[in-house]
């Protein structure tokens, strides 16, 4: 009987430290080089310099919409707005959330023009790739639509930052997720757009020993409160790096 208690105590000791996913942002990190977008964001800079204004549109699917977070303010676009407000005093920052859960790249491209005409931005954060990867959209189709979207975005005179896939069980299980990621990197480079390397950042969390439960909802796909807040903070940092860089 006492043996059983010892075992139970041992198990509890193992469980307890990792058990209660802390919400504190001290765990929220990324390697410095992963926070380089690779674009100076000229249009956004100019808008800040001349008009004291930064209009951002966040186009995307469920991550952008903030599916399942306990507080809409935790979704990364809201975090971006709060972070930039703090970092850029005197600048009128606005982040419009145009995330619709479940949408894939072609649906976003189809509505991109009208969304941007309603809210003309100087920076578009375009989060995509995850739904394509888990639904196995043909790679060439994905690339074709991605280019089409980039062409539309550029023609409307905005900086673009692509946010790639999230590193979560549902995406990790997809056999060719890296291929989608690569396409996004190549297309971003080709269109002089920024790339927010969410996949590598989150893979870093996992490889540093952070369990999925800390940053993913129990469906194995969506970011939870912590994951959303942290991505929002890191995106803010990356955007500021670009705006303040050479």
């Amino acid at each position: 009987m006492t043996r059983a208690w010892h075992w139970l105590a041992a198990i509890l000791l193992v469980i307890v430290p990792t058990a209660a996913s802390p919400q504190s942002m001290t765990l929220c990190r990324a390697k410095a080089e992963l926070l380089e977008l690779g674009s100076p964001l000229e249009i956004a800079r100019k808008a800040i310099a001349t008009r004291k204004q930064l209009r951002i549109i966040a186009l995307g699917s469920s991550s952008t919409a903030g599916y399942g977070v306990s507080n809409p303010a935790f979704a990364f676009p809201a975090q971006l707005k709060m972070g930039l407000d703090k970092a850029l005093p005197g600048v009128d920052v606005d982040v419009v959330n145009k995330g619709i859960g479940g949408q894939d790249v072609e649906e976003m491209v189809t509505r991109m023009r009208s969304e941007m005409e309603d809210n003309p931005p100087s920076l578009m954060v375009w989060q995509t790739g995850t739904n394509a990867a888990i639904r196995h959209m043909p790679l060439e189709k994905f690339e074709r639509w991605l280019r089409r979207g980039m062409t539309i975005g550029k023609s409307l005179g905005t900086d673009i930052v692509l946010m790639n896939l999230q590193y979560v069980p549902a995406v990790v299980a997809a056999s060719d997720k890296e291929a989608y990621e690569k396409i996004m990197g190549a297309v971003a480079h080709e269109f002089d757009a920024g790339l927010f390397r969410r996949f590598d950042i989150m893979r870093g969390w996992y490889e540093d020993g952070m369990p999925y439960a800390q940053f993913v909802q129990l469906d194995g796909l969506h970011l939870n409160d912590f994951g959303q807040k942290c991505i929002g903070k890191l995106l803010t940092k990356a955007v500021l790096n670009s705006l303040n860089g050479p």
Binding site: P22, A73, L218, G220
Partner: protein, 384 residues
Amino acid sequence: MAALPVIASGRDIRLDLFRGLALWFIFVDHIPTNVVSWLTVRNYGFSDATEIFVFISGYTAVIAYGRMMQRDGWMRAAGRVYRRVWQLYVAHILLFVAFSAQVAWVSEARDTPALIEEMEMLGLGQNPYRAILEAALLKFRPVNLDVLPLYIVLLAAFPLVLPALLRRPMAVIAASLALYAVTSHFDWNLPAYPENKVWFFNPMAWQVVFYLGAAFAVLGPRLAWLDRFRLPLSILAVLYLVFAAIIALSWHYNPLERLIPAFIGRIIYPIDKTNIDILRFAHFLALAWLVRLVVPVDAAFLKWRIFLPLRRCGEQSLLIFCLGTFLALSGQVIVDHFEESLLSQIAVSVGGILIMCAAAYAASWFKGGGTAGRDRAPAAEVVP
């Protein structure tokens, strides 16, 4: 089926007990950083307390209104259902207001610029009038206020299904499964506010849990044929629960996670909650099957005094649900204030459950006309 089924009249203690347990779980799980949530089902498999709550709600809906319809006719039963729907609606709106007030109060008390951030929490930041309108239409449901609207929609449709349910429960199960399948396939959902939001618990999918519970209540003893397959079903259930537990625990332990073969991940993910993924549903059914075997309706231990607080909470489910949701937010604030210390997590969980129990006892004392020493709630008022 000529004769109408005989619906069990005695109060099934298990319903109150497990509903009470589900309510405790919901409270504990709604505090984001809470070590006590390791005592809930959520971390050991795919399904969580929501399935238990919705299933029992369907079951008790038949117990309460099925017999009423047989005795007093459809009109009267439907009237009573809509009276209940109205109670739920009022409770939801009250909860919404209490929630908003609590957020505002906390922000004021902290006296920081976080106020705007916190109000954003309720989506009241940009357009409060619109948000209030949308809340009244159940389209706007911030922060964990998703379960009651689901329940309201399910119960509001219930009178329309009830006559068919009593005559042809198997046909209702088939129709319910069909709606569930079609909804998941085409990704249907009800409109929400703001437009890019969805009903986190999609009523058109979650109805399958509710109506399975309802149909089982109608079928009652006619489910006994399942016992012929007791052994194979139990083995299947146990195997599946073990599998689910391994997967669920792997989300907490990366070394375990690395042992899961990639092809399994490809099959199971994502495990959708909005449209209750088939893996979740099956997990709940496996759990329910084993509970049915381990906890027969006449099990002596059900009447142990130690379980009385759970039963009381289950009997007063609406009150306790609302209170629990409200307390979970308070708990979150307190845990946050103490920098998520273990002690604060445990204290808040225990304190919250004590408050819920006190409220349940008080409510059943009032309902009983203020007389002490009763062992059970009045039989006439079995509420879903």
